[in-house]
């Protein structure tokens, strides 16, 4: 390319770029088109269903969950974010003593959202929730007990 050819080519390509950004700016100033950011606190946030917000335990309407207290998730977790506190209690049906879940403790503050616990769970008791409003002023609040108070194991999970 010749010396002057380069100059005109440069001006042409710069003008192409300026047309693109100008085409964004001028419709944008009327607020009619093109603003693609969502004004979150004013507009509701749209979260993708596969978003990993925090680990939760699923409960049905009778306050029953599917966790058997097997501790597979606790072992699977690479950084110790899950602690299972279990108890031995008499099963009312069989009359025998049995290992049961007391508290499924989950430290959200340490969790890296790696999903290993969820894959490890043999009974699909835990899952991801898309809730992202997790900011608190006290890190203690980030340690959660996942099974709801008074909940018990769903019938038929262990078979």
């Amino acid at each position: 390319m010749t010396y002057f050819g380069k100059i005109f080519y440069g001006i042409k390509t710069l003008w192409t770029g300026m047309k693109v950004t100008g085409g964004y700016f001028f419709p944008n100033i009327t607020r009619k088109k093109y603003v693609i950011t969502r004004q979150y606190p004013d507009e509701p946030a749209v979260v993708f269903p596969r978003f990993k917000g925090e680990v939760v335990m699923w409960h049905n309407e009778n306050n029953e969950h599917r966790c058997t207290g097997c501790q597979a998730c606790e072992i699977a977790c690479p950084n110790g974010s899950i602690e299972i506190i279990w108890k031995r209690e008499v099963d009312p049906e069989t009359g025998k003593k049995k290992k049961m879940l007391d508290q499924h403790i989950y430290h959200l503050s340490m969790c890296t959202m790696c999903s290993l616990c969820i894959q490890a769970c043999p009974t699909n008791a835990i899952m991801w929730s898309t809730n992202f409003h997790n900011a608190t002023y006290d890190r203690g609040l980030l340690t959660k007990v996942l099974n709801k108070p008074g909940s018990k194991l769903m019938a038929g999970v262990e078979e």
Partner: protein
């Protein structure tokens, strides 16, 4: 004690030669310019962020105050409340002198810019020369501050700034010379008055347009704005020359950068777009001429500032060798030839005079 004494001597000298009112008026003018410096700087920062938002399909700051107008004031308050940190091994004097020199250079350049007829702090007969001299003092502040903060990244950034300034000053100078050839004077008001009927951009047609483009490119480079922001570079230099500055020290550099952009735009408006003159004299007969002058001047400056912002948010930044190629192989030879053509045109009187 020494300080008090010298201030007193200065005061007595002023009072004896000019009287107390003169001193007060001087102080008032200084206060107005400092206020303008702060307000215009903050508003330009706001404008930059807002315009950048629109260019990038965002909204920009819009939460603090109506349309987010108070955002930069809140930021300034935050910066004021921050600790001014001086690195342990820094040369304290040079470190602190850095931003003062940058600000003083910006204020000095501001002093000769005519906002409207007779609204100007100083009307030198060499105003244009003064501006181009003073605006290169600013880079001295950058170099001193970077040297004083004893940080290799700062120093490399400042060296690049110096290199850029020295290179691009030449082509900016040639662009200015093209205008001076037409106006025949270096006095800022004289230059504006010479555009009474036709702005220099149109009066000198092709060479003037080329000079205007060269002026805008080298002005962008002199203010270290994208695409010529080699002075900063997060990936290679951190924040460049102001890496070690915090709080107000950083804010002064930041404000001075934006005031320098204002100065370049104001210079462009004065030299090529007729300064405070109304286009086709449409507001000439109206009362409050000074107000109309300021309005037209600021409007033109705003258009140029918008153009600079448009450049910033469109073009990718260039490498240092590309920067030097652009200057020494393209802008400088073109500027030289352009000046010769302009001189020829002025000699043969091929300029366009309307009215």
């Amino acid at each position: 004690m020494m300080n008090m004494l010298s201030i007193n001597i200065f005061q007595t000298w002023l009072e004896q030669t000019h009287g107390i009112w003169y001193v007060l008026v001087l102080a008032g003018i200084a206060a107005i310019y400092l206020g303008f410096f702060a307000v215009a700087g903050l508003m330009l920062v706001y404008l930059e962020r807002r315009v950048a938002g629109y260019f990038q399909l965002r909204l920009g700051p819009n939460r603090v105050g109506p349309w987010g107008l108070l955002q930069t004031i809140a930021d300034a308050l935050k910066l004021v409340s921050k600790e001014i940190f001086v690195p342990k091994m820094a040369d304290k004097l040079l470190y602190k002198a850095g931003y003062y020199i940058v600000i003083i250079a910006a204020l000095l350049a501001l002093a000769v810019i005519p906002f409207a007829r007779q609204i100007q702090a100083l009307d030198f007969n060499v105003g244009l020369f003064f501006i181009s001299a003073v605006s290169s003092v600013g880079v001295l502040g950058i170099l001193i501050g970077a040297w004083g903060s004893r940080n290799k990244y700062s120093l490399i950034g400042a060296m690049r700034s110096g290199l850029q300034m020295i290179s691009y000053e030449l082509s900016a100078g040639f662009a200015i010379i093209a205008v001076v050839l037409m106006s025949g004077t270096l006095k800022m008001t004289g230059i504006v008055e010479a555009q009474k009927h036709t702005w220099f951009l149109f009066q000198g047609h092709l060479p003037a347009i080329i000079a205007f483009m060269i002026f805008l490119i080298s002005g962008t480079a002199e203010t270290n704005r994208v695409p010529f922001d080699l002075v900063e570079g997060e990936s290679e230099l951190g924040a460049g020359f102001h890496t070690e500055y915090s709080g107000m020290g950083f804010a002064f550099f930041f404000l001075a950068e934006f005031i320098n952009m204002f100065i370049i735009a104001a210079l462009g408006a004065t030299l090529f777009l007729g300064g405070w003159l109304a286009p086709f004299g449409i507001t000439d007969g109206l009362p409050a001429q000074w107000l109309w002058g300021i309005i037209w001047f600021l409007l033109k400056v705003f258009v140029l500032i918008f153009l600079l912002m448009w450049f910033r948010w469109t073009f990718p930044r260039i490498r240092i060798d590309q920067l030097l190629t652009l200057e020494w192989k393209y802008l400088l030879p073109i500027g030289l030839v352009n000046t010769v053509i302009m001189a020829w045109m002025v000699w043969k009187d091929w300029l366009i005079h309307l009215g």
